[in-house]
């Protein structure tokens, strides 16, 4: 795996590694208002998704998710063939395709192209991949002024903040923080009215679109047999990004490919419904190479940078299905843990929520993110929400397994689980052990009156640093059962 060279120690999405979650979780848990905010937004989105999908697909919803998953899985299983086909057809359509093995290489390619074309001002539409490779600061360091044009990303850029949700980047910010940032950075009159704030941003950015000589976007889908690049956006900034500047660079992960154009509707029908409960995004832009000779506007040159950056490492493992992800954000909205801690950049990486909890350790190393596989209650809500039917809970369990087998977990932890396994296999021993444990734990909980154990002794201290443990009731379930069934154990 490549070592990123431009880590900013204060960047919450590219923290110093290994990343431990305790601090950001405690911060997020301490901010009740933020939690309520994120909770309300994600709950509403989740409910919207269920309603729109049920409305459209009725009892076929699960089958449609499985179908979409199958198409993506087929593509991943033959990704070598489809990537090659895509490179050929996009080249035939007039685009130049470049291959980037790492984040560093991807940044380098883009900067080289921009410099060779003497670009000074870049307008950028929202793209998770460019966040992943930390592109914007690299462009700025090379003297290419770069403007995020998605409203949420624009505000985050102005306020020197970081996105916290893959679809709703500023889910953690309220209108007052936007108002303050605009007043301070754009020197406009203070207003908290979202309509007026949007208007201010619109006016500011229109001039930039007219001046920009470089447009950078991501891509939601690549079509292998036509070389098409598909962008799904709601604001229209994606369309403008590929309309006014003379040069267009697309940054995209290799997993975004689907075989044919006729496969696209399956994903269009699911993506917006899962992400924002819309039947389809407002703008679905399909690009086939650069502007043609007779066409009126559009970029003269189009470059597509295909990114690996750890994806082949995932492809190799039994976590391959993770690469089906179409970045809809539905698993974040459905996740009870994300709802609690998601607003605080707790996942320590660009991809947050259940999807992030799996792919971040896979891409950046389990030893660098030892907490993430545990940031889940394994309730299964993410699996049910996922439009490409990724079994995220199973993948989380696999990661936990890997932590034990490859010794990412400290010796004390591994020993504890070993001991636990021995006890679990022997009913008598289990009964005895649980009695003793209950006694000790209740004693501990009494000492702080909360009914919760938030500081364990000795090696348990590490475990309780990130979790609280409820004090056991004075009667165990087993006792209760025996009393109510007349001692009939089953």
């Amino acid at each position: 795996m490549t070592v990123d060279t431009i880590h900013d120690k204060h960047d919450p999405l590219h923290p110093q590694l290994p990343y431990r979650i305790a601090d950001s979780v405690n911060r997020a848990m301490g901010d009740v208002q933020l939690q309520q905010f994120v909770n309300a937004a994600t709950t509403a989105r989740d409910r919207g998704r269920v309603e729109t999908c049920r409305d459209a697909f009725a009892e076929r919803y699960d089958a449609v998710r499985r179908h979409a998953g199958d198409i993506k899985q087929h593509t991943l299983d033959h990704l070598d063939i489809y990537v090659e086909q895509f490179i050929d057809s996009a080249t035939t359509a007039g685009a130049q395709v470049h291959c980037a093995a790492s984040a560093e290489e991807a940044r380098h390619i883009g900067i080289e192209i921009a410099k060779a074309n003497e670009c000074k001002l870049c307008v950028k539409s929202k793209s998770m991949v460019t966040e992943e490779i930390d592109l914007v600061s690299a462009l700025e360091d090379s003297g290419i002024k770069t403007l995020e044009t998605d409203l949420g990303e624009f505000i985050i850029q102005l306020d020197n903040d970081a996105p916290s949700h893959i679809v709703m980047p500023m889910i953690h910010k309220d209108r007052r923080s936007v108002a303050r940032a605009f007043e301070r950075e754009l020197k406009t009159k203070y207003t908290e009215d979202p309509q007026q704030l949007t208007q201010i941003a619109r006016e500011y950015m229109r001039h930039k679109f007219a001046q920009a000589d470089l447009g950078i976007s991501g891509a939601n889908f690549l079509i292998a047999d036509t070389g098409d690049v598909v962008l799904c956006t709601n604001e229209g900034n994606g369309g403008l990004t590929v309309s006014t500047p003379r040069l267009h660079i697309v940054y995209v992960g290799i997993e975004k490919i689907i075989p044919r154009l006729d496969h696209l509707p399956v994903f269009l029908k699911l993506l917006a419904r899962s992400a924002t409960s819309q039947p389809i995004t407002v703008y679905t832009t399909i690009l086939t190479g650069p502007k043609r000779e007779l066409e009126i506007d559009g970029p003269k040159h189009m470059h597509i940078i295909l990114l690996d950056n750890g994806r082949t490492d995932i492809l190799r493992t039994d976590a391959r299905e993770m690469l089906r992800c179409i970045r809809c954000g539905a698993c974040l909205n459905a996740c009870p843990v994300y709802r609690k801690v998601g607003g605080g950049h707790a996942y320590g990486a660009v991809y947050s929520g259940p999807i992030g909890a799996v792919i971040t350790p896979l891409m950046k190393g389990l030893h660098n993110y030892p907490d993430l596989p545990h940031v889940s209650s394994l309730c299964g809500a993410c699996f049910e929400a996922c439009p490409v039917h990724i079994d995220i809970p199973r993948q989380l369990i696999n990661l936990r397994r890997d932590m034990v087998t490859n010794r990412t977990m400290p010796l004390s932890g591994r020993l504890a689980y070993k001991l636990w396994a021995i006890v679990l296999k022997r009913p008598l021993l289990y009964r005895l052990a649980s009695r003793i444990m209950a006694l000790i734990l209740r004693r501990m909980a009494q000492s702080n009156d909360s009914g919760w154990i938030n500081k364990g002794p000795g090696p348990l201290g590490a475990w309780t640093a990130e979790r609280d443990f409820p004090a056991p009731p004075s009667n165990s379930f087993r006792d209760w059962w025996n009393r109510h069934t007349g001692g009939q154990e089953r």
């Binding site: 070598d80 309220d174 619109r202 309309s243 502007k291």
Partner: protein, 241 residues
């Protein structure tokens, strides 16, 4: 397949393509030169089709487009002038750009605008690049429209600019009833048949006015693209009966 129009010498940066592909093959345990032996999954229409071809397509299109936040008007060919005039007047539009591939329709709209006294901005002039952000309205025709979602589909070409339907605050789209397809599947099965010109570089499906909910989840229209989209449905089918 399309031919590139700008053949700036191809220079590939980064990892060599063969090395890059070899790494993917390595991860999959695949050999170079292998072919796909299992069938490529076809789209299962019985699962994903959401609009049947025998539905009343113009009615469903109008209904869905409205639900997406677009305004619907109906016109016979000879009523087009009055409709366009009403919309432009209502929104106080003094100038407009036309971006219409259909020749007859283009001629007709040009005459309408002349009669209305609306200033016409030429997107083929060199000043268009800066001017597009000051034009009051863009008037376009479409390649096709979708009853399933209420979307309109526009491709770029020699007569249609990308900016004309994105930059002005108001977009008027002219849809002929014969252009309305049932489902997304029907369009993507044969996208090229619906293009106004072959070998074009951009097609966009537009499904509502430009939207954002980034600030506290509150829905605002018109953030970058047009905040208002008016669709005039021109009945070009019933006269022939």
């Amino acid at each position: 397949m399309t031919t590139p129009t700008h053949t700036s010498q191809a220079r590939h940066l980064g990892t060599d393509r063969e090395v890059f592909l070899a790494k993917i093959r390595g991860a999959l345990g695949a050999k170079k030169g292998r072919t796909i032996t299992e069938p490529v999954p076809d789209v299962d229409e019985s699962l994903v089709r959401l609009c049947q071809t025998d539905e009343d397509l113009p009615a469903r299109f109008a209904d869905r487009a409205q639900a997406l936040g677009m305004q619907i008007h109906h016109a016979k060919v000879n009523e087009l002038g009055a409709q366009i005039g009403n919309i432009l007047e209502k929104h106080n539009c003094k100038e407009a750009v036309t971006s219409i591939a259909h020749q007859l329709l283009n001629k007709q709209v040009t005459e309408i605008l002349r009669d209305l006294g609306t200033a016409m901005i030429d997107h083929k002039s060199t000043s268009w690049h800066d001017q597009q952000f000051d034009v009051d309205a863009g008037i376009t025709d479409v390649d096709a429209a979708l009853a399933e979602t209420g979307s309109i589909i526009i491709s770029s070409g020699a007569h249609r600019s990308r900016g004309s339907y994105l930059a002005p605050p108001l977009h008027i789209a002219l849809v002929r009833t014969s252009q309305i397809l049932a489902d997304l599947i029907d369009y993507f099965d044969c996208k090229n048949d619906w293009l106004d010109e072959p070998n074009q570089s951009a097609t966009v499906l537009i499904s509502g006015p430009s939207k954002t909910a980034d600030i506290e989840g509150i829905l605002i229209t018109g953030v970058h693209g047009p905040g208002m989209v008016h669709i005039i449905i021109i009945d070009d089918q019933s006269q022939s009966e």
